[in-house]
């Protein structure tokens, strides 16, 4: 049984048919063609699938897709503004905050949720904000540095 769901994806109105029980991650990737959120576990444990729903981070693998009806979903696919990278993206690039890059889209979303709420976070606040996101290539130090750097850049701009 498929049912229709309409929501806002990175600012655009999106309508998609979802299978009963489908999670948001699968619907974004297969239904909407937004491949930026990644599957790492399907258990909420890794954060690779993190997206923002109404501005707050959620692990999309555990979100029943139909519950986002009428809400706004943001993914890394919509992070940059045209050709210009988001300050977080720029900081991740310049700070070598990704190796294999598989955790990166989720990290960026968790970081964006933080900076949107708290433009000048402390280091422990950054660590807390990405505590649900695993990076197996062990890039936590550069990732935390990059998020702090993005906050500084934004503050300066």
């Amino acid at each position: 049984m498929k049912s229709p769901v309409t929501f806002w994806l990175n600012g655009s109105e999106t309508a998609v048919f979802v299978d009963a029980g489908a999670n948001l991650l699968d619907v974004l990737r297969r239904g909407c063609g937004d491949l930026s959120p990644k599957y790492g576990c399907g258990q909420g444990g890794c954060g690779a699938c993190t997206v923002l729903i109404d501005g707050e981070p959620h692990v999309s693998c555990l979100v029943l897709a139909e519950t986002v009806a009428g809400r706004s979903v943001e993914t890394t696919g919509g992070l940059s503004n045209g050709p210009d990278p988001h300050p977080l993206q720029r900081a991740f690039m310049e700070g070598f905050a990704a190796q294999c890059g598989y955790c990166t889209p989720g990290m960026l979303m968790a970081a964006k949720a933080l900076l949107d709420r708290n433009p000048s976070p402390s280091r422990p606040e950054v660590e807390e904000a990405i505590s649900g996101n695993l990076c197996r290539c062990t890039g936590y130090e550069p990732i935390v540095d990059a998020i702090l750097e993005a906050a500084r850049q934004r503050g300066a701009a």
Binding site: D19, G21, R29, R30, G33, D34, L35, S36, P37, K38, Y39, G40, C41, G42, Q43, G45, C46, A48, T75, T76, G77, L79, S80, P85, L88, Q89, F92, M93, E94, G95, F96, A98, Q99, C100, G101, Y102, C103, T104, P105, L108, L134, C135, R136, C137
Partner: protein, 641 residues
Amino acid sequence: MPTEYRKDLFADERSDDFDIVGKPIIRQDILGHVTGRSKFYDDHAFDGLLHMRCVRSAHHHARIRSVDSSAAERQDGVVRVLGGRDVPVNVNTLLSLINFGRDDEPLLAIGKVGYVGQPILAIVATSVRAAQEAVDAVKVEYEELPHVLDVEEALKPEAPIVNEEYPNNTFDYFDTYDHQKLRFGDVETAFSRADHIVEGEYQMSPIEQAPMETCGAIAAPETNDRITVHTSTQALFFSVGVTAKQLDISSARLHFIGGTVGGGFGGKVDSHHEPLAALACLATGKPVKYMWDRAEEMQVGGPRGGERWRIKDGVMRDGRIIARAFTGFFDAGAYTRLSSYAVQKSTGHLPGPYSIPNVASNVYCVFTNRTPSTAMRGFGITAVDFAIERHMDKVARAVGMDPIELRILNAYRDGDMKAHRREAKNCALIESCQAVAQKTGWSLSADAMRASSKVGGGEGALGVIPETVTDDEGRIGERRRSGLAPEPLSGQGTRRLLPEGYSSNNSSAFGNAPQREDMEAEIERLGFKGATVVSSTPQGPADQTASSARPIEPRETAHAVHPAGARGGPSLPAAYTQRPASTINQPIAQPPERAPGTPVVQQPATPPAAAEAENESAATHFQRGVRRPGVSRFISGSRRR
């Protein structure tokens, strides 16, 4: 922390004009990573993508009495159920591509399972859920067998046979021994001379690589009779070779795309997803994804194998280690994969970065009913290094010496002879120890601070290959029959004495694998300096004139030394050549059509005659690799000259 360069050290051995190291650089692939547009294997959209899940063994060790997939095949969304008999060449070993080891692992188990989670059937369905439900609907009847989960238990005469291809539960080295030997000098005599004997046992558990992206592959039909395979593999050409072999098709039909990998750390070399996905693609004509979920990744993904090491040192009062013996056990799990090679890698690493004039080791690649283990960052080295360094501390306590000074005293210096008969070069352990001591405020004696890797190397006995005692203990099968202890030189086998200076790069006594001729390094071509290539008649060690140090031994000599002469097509030992016809001449190409509802296991195999004919035609258009009697057709390319 900013990187600090010690420009005072080895200044004449390297240049300082780094233009990359120590400077921030923007990775060429990072724009894709931060925009979420890097294409990992699963980031490709396919119409009508099918999903695959496996029916997996519920037991460590069991005979499969029956498999009934009839209910599963009737379920909604189920497209195809594949079993071991649908795989043209079901049994493989990863390193068969370089002719190392015998095919021992089925892609889908037939008749028997050797570990929990071993795949038995692969179910292809229109959704993950449908495939999961079908998996649950398959009934497998098992007859549980006794299992063994400990490496040393597995060596005992009464242990169950884990892997029929290796009925002694150990990988066969050089078709002669049940372990990899290293013999250098005479440890027994040295032990009797030593002031202290220090023994220790060290163990490391298996470790899952746990990449963020789970292993998987998508195989999709292309035009031109090819299959595109997007894969997470870390070893694209391994995976092509394995897929070509197991599907028995030309690799020219396989278009593999990979390289963007969501973390691998060694766990993505096993090449199981690609053949299964490609087989299902051939069988259904549709794109098929075989992706592990996280639970599978943790349960059946090949981990770094567990290892157990025992070290026995003979130490003089002043802290000099004069003898070191190792007994090492690699837990391969139920099948070989890369453990056979890890054992050799570790043997090449012994006795650690220390100059010890007498070294012996027996290292075993042991089969147990655990998840087969595979590569992981420095596998073969990590655990034994852990053991060695723990043991160095233990030795330091035994002789009452500062542990760093003990290391400096025994460290390799340039010019020392290593146990695998190469001269140590570019040594830096002493300097590293000194730097660590300085940084941590650890005080060292003036002598230790003055020591240098460049001074004192190769002096006296440490510079030469010593007279070496070898033995023939631990021949294949002997241990299981007689309960022989695993330690080196622990039995009554025949001892032989190799004269001082005797070297070979191809003798089992020394730890190098006999490689296939066409895979052998040609020293002239590699520009190996100081290599003297002598063409000589075969010469045994007994009639060898002593003490002329020879850097590189001619191959013929090595050949003669090798007890079983396991080299060259014609002289291949029986175990390599007498492959059961059934493993080679499996049905080729597409799995046979079959009526829905027929359980896979009841399918008749393609008649052998037809298979033979197919094989011929495959061979004629199959231009890749070498084709010689007794040589795998799947060696990925012949040597360019």
